[in-house]
């Protein structure tokens, strides 16, 4: 069976599993579930697994997508359950299906973030954060393929809003997933570079949903 796609969650302690380690973890989980993955041909065969948008270490997600191929026909309806049963704590497969859409069609990612403020007023922070991210351009010094460079992250933010909570601000944002890729961590990094007074004491993010260019849910 070719062109299969898996949708899974990576939360809790599993957020610290790196992309490379996750590939091996998935490969082993398939093996434990008795599902034979197809391997590449050639001198050094490897299982044909690919994760659409590698997740940074430390970030959670409830909308990860992974393409794979199986050697044998399998009932996709029960596959999520079979895999989840043999995965580490925090990784849960929610869906397995034949993929219809190319990975390049994935354009936007909805993310949730927590900005912790240990001593500052969350209400005030939320208001000022809205103001900060409403600017027309937010130029951040970041690592690019060609070394360090300034880049404007604002066009990659389609939507962003902030809600104050006890000791923290919860944000919801829709960010560009590909071309360009905006790592949500850059939202906090922008504050550290440009507006120290708003820089959170700690930030963490969770991916919520994937969308195409027309903001239709992408699967």
């Amino acid at each position: 069976m070719d062109k299969l796609r898996l949708r899974f969650e990576k939360t809790g302690r599993a957020v610290y599993i790196s992309h490379l380690d996750l590939m091996r973890t998935m490969q082993r989980a398939f093996s434990r579930a008795g599902l034979a993955l197809k391997y590449s041909e050639g001198f050094n065969p490897h299982p044909l697994l690919s994760i659409l948008l590698p997740l940074p270490v430390g970030m959670g997600s409830v909308c990860e997508l992974m393409d794979f191929r199986l050697r044998e026909e399998t009932d996709l309806a029960v596959l999520p359950e079979r895999l989840t049963a043999v995965l580490p704590e925090g990784i849960r497969v929610t869906e397995a299906y034949e993929q219809k859409r190319k990975s390049v069609d994935l354009k936007w990612l909805a993310v949730e973030g927590i900005f912790a403020y240990d001593t500052r007023d969350a209400g005030q922070m939320a208001r000022e954060l809205e103001f900060f991210f409403a600017q027309e351009a937010i130029s951040v010094l970041r690592k690019t393929k060609r070394g360090m460079g300034q880049s404007n992250i604002r066009p990659a933010i389609r939507e962003i809003n902030f809600r104050p909570e006890e000791g923290q601000v919860r944000l919801y944002a829709v960010l560009s997933a590909q071309e360009p890729t905006l790592n949500p961590e850059l939202l906090a990094e922008a504050l550290r570079q440009l507006e120290q007074a708003l820089a959170p004491d700690f930030a963490r993010f969770t991916r919520l949903e994937t969308y195409d260019a027309q903001m239709q849910i992408y699967r």
Binding site: Y16, S18, D21, T25, A29, V57, G58, E89, D201, F202
Partner: protein, 611 residues
């Protein structure tokens, strides 16, 4: 998750090793267990998770439903610094709970260089280092592992030691600890009772007496304490618990594969080798047991590799049958089978072909000595002919990388023996030129030398280690003798070997040095990244002890040894006999040719030594 921990993790390398949550970890309801045990490995996650003994005992102790045994490893330097900064105490991986909530801390100590890390973990757990400064029970702090065959250097820090194999002993101890906790025993009462369990050594019941020259004169023991502590063994090894559902690390560790233990003990009796003596008597598993356990563990882990463990795998009687059985399962699933410790003398073409079917790796031989005379003296029963014959088969079979391991500073070693190492490398190179199937790929011959360390309970336990200067002179002699471009020479650092020798043969006074090194920032001393020789020499000075007394002195054969209290089965007379044979370069036949009546078999209640 602890908020402090959550904030630290993004700052450290490979955070996955600090959070637990792996597949097959054991989670219990902490309110439903009576004892919480922190199973501490005094090294990093990557090393500890590669340790089969740790995995076996984790499952053995968790098989008691009133116990929840969790894992604790030593954090790497970056994590250590962040934890200190955040005031985060050491915690266990499964629950994330701080070690202060635990009833017992059990340390698995396989090598002496981990001693400072043991102290550091105690400190990170918020506990006083010395047993005498921890009057309350719980917590109980104890240690086991190979290094415990000479428990004295760590004696003041531990409430007790478990000597030998822990499969049965640990759970007996935990049952007693449960009773003590239920009935509110004092620590002193508990320790007196615990000392009655075979294999348990309670150092506070013994008091060493030293002579004016600094040598150990005698040991005074309190009433009720056994005269000697006899190590425990698993009587029926074939039926011994084996973890068929081991934890699968979610991040890369050193040995990330299924490990099958073929047998315990060794039939060879190399005279420098502690493991060859302290793991006796020889007990093997049946091939069908191993095949069954291997397949089950592969299914439960999804691992891509399985490896066979023992002190000398080619001495396993059913190796062919075992490999065939495993390969039947592995080949169709692209699972690799590897065999780490082969001897050059009975390495067969057939076996090599079998392993080659799946994956081909380099060949490694522990030759140990550079001349036949020296190899005979240390009872390393390998001839140059064997080695070259094996290399020929290997080169014809397409291998092109050979590693040869040697020791420098062995008793009776001469410069001639050392030059013999270089000569042997040339012979191997010549062999390659003659027989290699494909010379275009070149050949890589690696010579590695380490410094001989006299180890307790081995026939060389009385021998002196050569000084650092002398070791380096021998290294340079060999270095200048190796001229071929294809031969690489690596040598092990001499300073670590000196400290390891001191800790191996140390008495109770060495504990002060270990503590002083830790106070000066020593931890993770098994890593060259952290080992500081200067810190150790300073600590010796401060404590008024001379490392040479422990490492570079030949101990009189009739001296009282700090580890005499421990009976590993093999009798001292046997060790002395073997040592005498060294001086006349006389080989001892392996146990299967002729039983040397070493004494270990008396530990077996029934059944016989498989030697």
């Amino acid at each position: 998750m602890d908020k402090r921990l959550e904030r630290i993790l993004p700052k450290v390398q490979k955070p996955a090793r600090y959070v637990g949550g792996e597949y097959n970890q054991i989670i219990k309801d902490k309110s439903a267990v009576e004892l919480r045990l922190a199973f501490c490995f005094p090294d990093t996650y990557e090393i500890g998770m590669s340790n089969l003994g740790m995995s076996i005992l984790y499952h053995v102790m968790n098989s008691l439903d009133f116990v929840w045994c969790e894992r604790v490893f030593a954090p790497w330097g970056d994590m250590y610094t962040e934890m200190k900064k955040a005031g985060l105490p050491l915690y266990a991986l499964e629950s994330g709970d701080s070690l202060s909530e635990f009833d017992a801390l059990a340390f698995s100590v396989g090598y002496e260089m981990a001693y400072t890390t043991v102290l550091d973990m105690l400190d990170m757990a918020g506990l006083p280092l010395r047993s005498a400064d921890r009057p309350a029970l719980p917590p109980l702090v104890f240690a086991g592992g190979t290094a415990a065959v000479n428990p004295e250097p760590m004696a003041p820090f531990m409430d007790l030691f478990v000597i030998g194999e822990g499969e049965e002993m640990n759970n007996e101890l935990l049952c007693l600890l449960r009773q003590a906790k239920r009935e509110g025993w004092s620590k002193r009462d508990f320790l007196r009772q615990a000392a009655q369990i075979q294999g348990v050594y309670v150092p506070s019941l013994y008091e060493p007496v030293y002579g004016a020259d600094g040598a150990l004169l005698s040991v005074q023991r309190q009433e009720g304490a056994p005269e000697r502590v006899t190590k425990r063994i698993v009587q029926d090894f074939d039926a011994a618990p084996y973890p068929v559902k081991p934890i699968v690390p979610s991040t890369e560790v050193v040995h990330d594969r299924v490990s099958l233990e073929l047998f315990r003990g060794c039939v060879r009796g190399c005279r420098f080798c502690q493991a060859g003596y302290v793991y006796r008597p020889i007990r093997a598993k049946k091939p069908e047991t191993l095949i069954r356990q291997g397949i089950e563990a592969l299914k439960n882990t999804g691992c891509e590799d399985v490896t066979l463990l023992s002190l000398s795998s080619s001495d396993y009687r059913h190796l062919g049958e075992l490999c065939d059985g495993l390969l039947d399962y592995c080949e169709s699933r692209s699972i690799g089978l590897s065999l780490p410790s082969l001897r050059a003398d009975n390495f067969s073409m057939e076996l090599m072909e079998k392993l080659q079917k799946v994956r081909k790796s380099g060949l490694t031989f522990a030759v140990e000595g550079g001349s036949q005379r020296l190899r005979d003296a240390i009872n390393k029963n390998v001839t140059e002919e064997d080695l070259l014959h094996t290399c020929r088969i290997a080169f014809e079979g397409g291998w092109n990388s050979v590693k040869l391991y040697y020791m420098l500073g062995l008793p009776t070693e001469t410069d001639e023996d050392i030059l013999g190492i270089a000569e042997m490398a040339n012979q191997v190179l010549h062999c390659w030129r003659q027989y290699a199937r494909n010379k275009n790929r070149g050949v890589k011959i690696t010579i590695s030398t380490s410094c001989f360390i006299p180890k307790p309970h081995s026939p060389f336990q009385w021998e002196a280690q050569v000084s650092i200067e002398e070791y380096l002179r021998r290294v340079n002699l060999l270095r200048s003798a190796i001229t071929a471009r294809n031969v690489t020479y690596n040598w092990h650092d001499a300073e670590t070997s000196l400290i390891e020798a001191v800790l191996s043969r140390g008495d109770r006074r060495v504990a002060d040095v270990i503590e002083e090194v830790w106070r000066r920032g020593g931890r993770l001393d098994a890593w060259s990244d952290y080992f500081s020789f200067g810190r150790w020499t300073e600590a010796f000075k401060v404590c008024g002890l001379d490392p040479a007394f422990y490492a570079n002195r030949e101990i009189p054969a009739d001296a009282v040894l700090p580890w005499d209290i421990i009976d590993v089965g093999v009798r001292k007379e046997h060790l002395l006999r073997e040592r005498e044979k060294c001086y006349v370069s006389q080989l001892s036949p392996d146990c299967r040719k002729q039983c040397a009546a070493c004494g270990a078999a008396r530990l077996l209640k029934e059944g016989r030594c498989d030697g």
